[in-house]
């Protein structure tokens, strides 16, 4: 895989906000956000639910337009989706009417002849350790396998930016760990720019060069952490733990805000209020 052309700022986000028109009126999802991402960087976005990180990702992908501000890739304004910024979604979104290898080569159809296409797809499948499952259908794969195929499919297009929206959220811890390693290896080899959205703080610290914390809705970048740990990183190491703890604290404040807003007074009820000694007053007076 060739190294994508490296200009200084791969992604430049300036003064971007996003307001959605809903049935209840306009909702501000993302407050004024500015961000610069260098080529080859691995950036993780963490934040509470609804903080706008997925919205930001969609805007970088070109699936949504910012309400104000602009996003540029290599100096070019982003106006729509493009195969140079491929998104991997949480649900993998593999096409059920195609088998595995057909899914992987999906983006390449029409860009090159069938033989070359097959070769590239086979290589990528081997890269994600699924070489034996070429002809399987999507419903025959486990969650982890589906994520791997989604990664292979995205890599086939050799995008300069890889956008990942909580891709491992639905997987069990062991599978996630393996996939972290795989992504780590892939990234070290190709040095693509990766923007990774996740809830999982340790995952973010394990993978990213930088971790950006979002406030609760309407979201904004609250704080940035530069992860200065050597790779490959172990998710159970001290270094990861220390960073994760700090980030978790910052995040906790924001999560509590969200909970308070959603759950209201019930959040402040203490356990004791709910438990009463049994047998005291059952009401019937018997």
């Amino acid at each position: 895989m060739t190294n994508p052309n490296s200009s200084d700022q791969r992604v430049s986000i300036k003064g971007v906000t996003k307001t959605f028109q809903t049935a209840n009126g306009p909702v501000l999802a993302l407050k004024e956000t500015s961000l610069q991402i260098r080529s080859g960087e691995f950036v993780c976005l963490v934040g509470p639910s609804g903080c706008g990180k997925t919205t930001l990702l969609n805007m970088i992908a070109g699936l949504e337009q910012p309400s104000t501000g602009q996003i540029e890739q290599d100096g070019q304004l982003i106006t729509g989706p493009s195969s140079s910024r491929v998104v991997i979604f949480q649900e993998a979104a593999l096409f059920p009417w195609l088998n595995v290898i057909q899914n992987v080569e999906f983006g390449l159809v029409g860009r090159m002849d069938a033989k070359k296409r097959r070769e590239i797809s086979k290589t990528l499948l081997h890269l994600v350790h699924l070489g034996k499952f070429e002809k399987s259908f999507v419903h025959q794969l486990s969650g982890g396998m589906k994520s791997r195929v989604a990664i292979a499919r995205a890599l086939a297009l050799n995008p300069s930016i890889l956008l990942m929206d909580e891709p491992f959220a639905a997987l069990d811890a062991q599978t996630r760990d393996l996939l972290h390693e795989e992504i780590q290896d892939i990234w070290s080899a190709s040095k693509q720019t990766i923007i990774f959205v996740t809830h999982n703080v340790r995952e973010a610290v394990r993978l990213g060069d930088r971790v950006l914390i979002f406030t609760s809705r309407p979201g904004q970048i609250k704080k940035e952490f530069k992860i200065e740990l050597e790779r490959p990183r172990d998710i159970n190491s001290e270094g990861v733990f220390t960073y994760a703890k700090k980030i978790q604290q910052e995040l906790r404040e924001e999560i509590e805000k969200v909970l308070k807003e959603e759950v209201d007074d019930e959040w402040t009820l203490k356990k004791a209020d709910l438990l009463r000694p049994a047998g005291l007053d059952l009401g019937s007076g018997i």
């Binding site: 699936l63 998104v87 419903h139």
Partner: protein, 195 residues
């Protein structure tokens, strides 16, 4: 009998092409949806035989008249099924494809149609039974060669054996097509989709 089968095949193919195209257009253009969409549902309720007088007035006592009745009976249910199939596609497929650089006609051909195919096949099955029924009704009233005519002749000659025999034929043909074509298609889809 061959005449009947010929008619149904032509009529049905036309219905499928028209129906799927209309369903696609309705899904794509909101204007069409709001105008033609509700009209479609209303028209579908109309028994296909009611189209016969109009068909005869327009096309005379000809093959086209019967074809018209067959198509009118079938293509609307296919269109409705196509439209509903497209609306029910998980939006993530389209978004995923877009980020891979697929747009426009390619998007429809490679993503939307395959994703909606199970619903479309259901619509086609429905359309097939409507088409077959419309054809029989048309042939009964407007006598020319075909199974319907055989039925009529049997009635006129008070030949119950003939009448029942033709009825068996009609059912048999319908079943054979269902087994051969639709069950195969559905099996294939089940294999791929795992449903």
């Amino acid at each position: 009998m061959v005449a009947s089968i010929q008619r149904i095949i032509i009529g049905y193919i036309v219905s499928v092409l028209l129906g799927v195209s209309l369903g696609l257009l309705i899904g794509r253009f909101k204007l069409l949806d709001e105008t033609v969409g509700s009209l479609m549902l209303g028209l579908q309720v109309l028994p296909s035989i009611c189209w016969l007088p109009l068909a005869i007035l327009w096309f005379g006592l000809s093959e086209q008249a019967i074809q018209f009745v067959v198509v009118m009976g079938a293509f609307l249910s296919i269109a409705i099924a196509t439209d509903s199939g497209i609306r029910n596609i998980s939006p993530i497929y389209v978004r995923s494809a877009k980020t891979m650089g697929i747009t426009g006609f390619s998007l429809y051909r490679r993503v939307i149609l395959p994703a909606a195919l199970p619903s479309i096949i259901t619509g086609m099955k429905l359309g097939w039974s409507f088409a077959w029924r419309s054809l029989m009704a048309g042939e009964l009233l407007f006598v020319s060669s075909g199974l319907g005519q055989l039925l009529q002749v049997g009635r006129e000659l008070h030949d119950i054996a003939q009448v029942v025999a033709v009825m068996f034929m009609i059912v048999a043909i319908g079943l054979v097509f269902d087994r051969l074509i639709f069950s195969e298609l559905e099996k294939r889809i089940r294999l791929k989709w795992g449903v």
